[in-house]
């Protein structure tokens, strides 16, 4: 089932073309790593796909009415805003908002999802802590849990693992991979190409506002693509422990 369909998506900002003619489909079971150099348009692509930015072309998600969209996709922005000193539990429970009808509050079913999200991210111990007093990494984990609690077929995250320690980074990537395996889809923009190579089922490389490469990690992380888009050389090897990827030198 197609969870997201982009057709010729373009975004212009202040006269400059940020994205040009992006066409792609996302189906269930995919864990997509959205990669590209700084300024390539990764955030813009995801926000336009969600309908948060004015764009040309079509996005199946943006075409949905807001409430349905909230139930179709969960979005974790790069800016990790937590405006008020609420408990982690309350914060994660905000993910249930699209499922609440009328004047009702959180119900038993919602609480189950919240508990599951906390458990999946391993932050059950932080449940009653004040979210604004946590460390940056802990806050990120809580915000990811919020997106999980939203229980949507599609999860989109903008640099979700930035600032996390290695254990949490790997654990989060594994959570996303597991979600995909369970029949959902995850799109995450990443800078850590090594983790992307190890956990993602598909990589989309953005260069200069258009899709430069799209496919399994091995097909995308070719030396040519790396040189042209990232200006780096790298070591890519398939080992018994899975793919290993390490950027080496800057190429001018």
């Amino acid at each position: 089932m197609t969870l997201l369909s982009l057709n010729d998506l373009s975004v212009r900002l202040r006269g400059r073309a940020i994205l040009t003619g992006v066409t792609l489909d996302v189906t269930e079971g995919e864990f997509i790593g959205l990669i590209g150099p700084n300024g390539a348009g990764k955030t813009t692509l995801m926000r336009a796909a969600l309908g948060l930015l004015p764009h040309e072309g079509t996005s199946s998600l943006a075409a949905l009415p807001p409430a349905a969209r909230g139930r179709a996709a969960a979005w974790m922005p790069q800016a990790r805003d937590i405006a008020w000193p609420v408990t982690v539990e309350t914060l994660v429970a905000l993910g249930r908002t699209p499922h609440l009808g009328g004047w009702q509050g959180i119900g038993a079913a919602d609480r189950t999802h919240v508990d599951a999200a906390l458990d999946t991210m391993g932050i059950e111990g932080l449940r009653h802590r004040t979210a604004t007093r946590l460390s940056g990494g802990e806050q990120a984990m809580a915000l990811i849990a919020r997106a999980l609690a939203q229980e949507t077929p599609l999860l989109m995250a903008d640099e979700p693992i930035a600032g996390l320690d290695p254990a949490n980074q790997i654990a989060t990537m594994q959570v996303f991979a597991r979600l995909a395996a369970e029949g959902r889809a995850v799109i995450a923009s990443l800078h850590d190409l090594g983790l992307a190579a190890r956990h993602c089922t598909r990589l989309i490389l953005l260069g200069d506002g258009s899709v430069a490469a799209d496919g399994p990690p091995a097909d995308v992380l070719t030396p040519e693509n790396l040189a042209r888009n990232f200006h780096v050389s790298a070591h890519y090897a398939t080992t018994p422990h899975g793919p290993v990827f390490q950027p080496l030198e800057v190429i001018r």
Partner: protein, 327 residues
């Protein structure tokens, strides 16, 4: 949450009754309440029903309006410093009201006064959102508030000084500091419809404001219609603050103090603060109005003086706390 709701309701009820029994007329509490409810001959029922009752009712209504609009503004702007008085919304409402009175519009149509104040307040909110919308930090917000307040106050003073009536020029104090003295049931009926409408509108924002805890992007992606939230906020705040200022002048700091005090008690959830601030605001204004009549009974000490004595130090404290965090 339940215990808090009950405690606040009880507090408001008690203060309401106390407010009915305080006054220079020297009527005993029991006699006064009996005269209020049972009526009868003599001056006591007149005093109770036409002077004390409207004053107590307005205390509740205005406190609820200012508390709720303060909580809503803070929730939307995601800034604990937002408050109708501080950010110039009350001042703009006062300008609207003064214009209605001194151009004679208010005398021509009864509803002209609160509607003009609503228009003024609405303009103030729109200006604030334009100048220091949710992406603006505390400094931008306060600067915008200073600018709007200053402009509104000077224009109000100008209108008052241009009036042919010799009393008008010295009335700036009432408009800037607020007072419930000598209000009547006419004022209650004048303000009530707008306050109810505005209150109903603002109370629907609970879920949206909760979602905004995660930021505009995430909230919008979860299905929140930001434009609708913004419109509801502008109209609801304009209606409530406009009606309150039209009948009692600009009373400041209520929308700052009440949400701040109640935030820790409700787990900082914006939706809960909305409801709690209705009751908390009513309690605060009632308490201030009682104090005003006990402290200086012979003079008309303006309500805004007392709310400022409590609110301004808190404001300074909040600024101090946020000065490291935000730009």
């Amino acid at each position: 949450m339940r215990p808090l709701a009950l405690t606040l309701s009880a507090l408001v009820a008690v203060l309401f009754v106390v407010s009915l029994t305080v006054g220079p007329a020297g009527i005993g509490a029991r006699d006064g309440l009996a005269a209020l409810i049972l009526g009868g001959d003599g001056p006591e029922p007149l005093v109770m029903r036409e002077i004390r009752l409207p004053r107590a009712l307005l205390g509740v209504m205005i406190g609820a309006s200012l508390g709720l609009s303060g909580a809503a503004l803070q929730g939307y702007l995601r800034n604990p410093l937002a408050e109708p008085g501080l950010i110039g919304v009350s001042g703009s409402a006062a300008l609207g009201a003064v214009l209605a009175i001194h151009t004679g519009l208010a005398a021509a149509t009864t509803l002209a006064l609160p509607m003009a104040a609503l228009a003024g307040a609405g303009t103030g909110v729109l200006l604030i959102l334009m100048l220091a919308g949710p992406r603006g930090g505390s400094i931008t917000l306060i600067l915008a508030g200073i600018a709007i307040s200053a402009l509104a106050a000077s224009l109000t003073s100008l209108v008052l000084n241009l009036s042919p009536n010799p009393y008008a020029a010295s009335e700036i104090v009432f408009w800037m500091m607020g007072s419930l003295a000598d209000r009547s049931m006419t004022h209650v009926w004048l303000a009530l419809p707008l306050m109810l409408a505005g209150g109903a509108a603002l109370l629907t924002l609970g879920r949206g404001l909760d979602a905004l805890t995660l930021g505009e992007d995430a909230a919008e992606a979860m299905g929140l219609r930001l434009a609708r939230v913004r419109l509801t906020l502008v109209l609801g705040t304009a209606a409530m603050v406009g009606a309150a200022v039209a009948v009692a002048g600009a009373i400041g700091f209520v929308g700052l103090v009440v949400p701040h005090l109640l935030r820790p008690l409700v787990g900082a959830r914006p939706s809960r603060i909305l409801w709690a601030s209705v009751l908390g605001g009513a309690a605060m204004v009632l308490a201030a109005d009682i104090a005003v009549r006990l402290v200086l009974p012979e003079r008309d000490l303006k309500l805004g003086v007392l709310t400022a004595i409590v609110g301004a130090p808190l404001f300074l404290h909040l600024i101090y706390k946020t000065r490291g965090a935000q730009a």
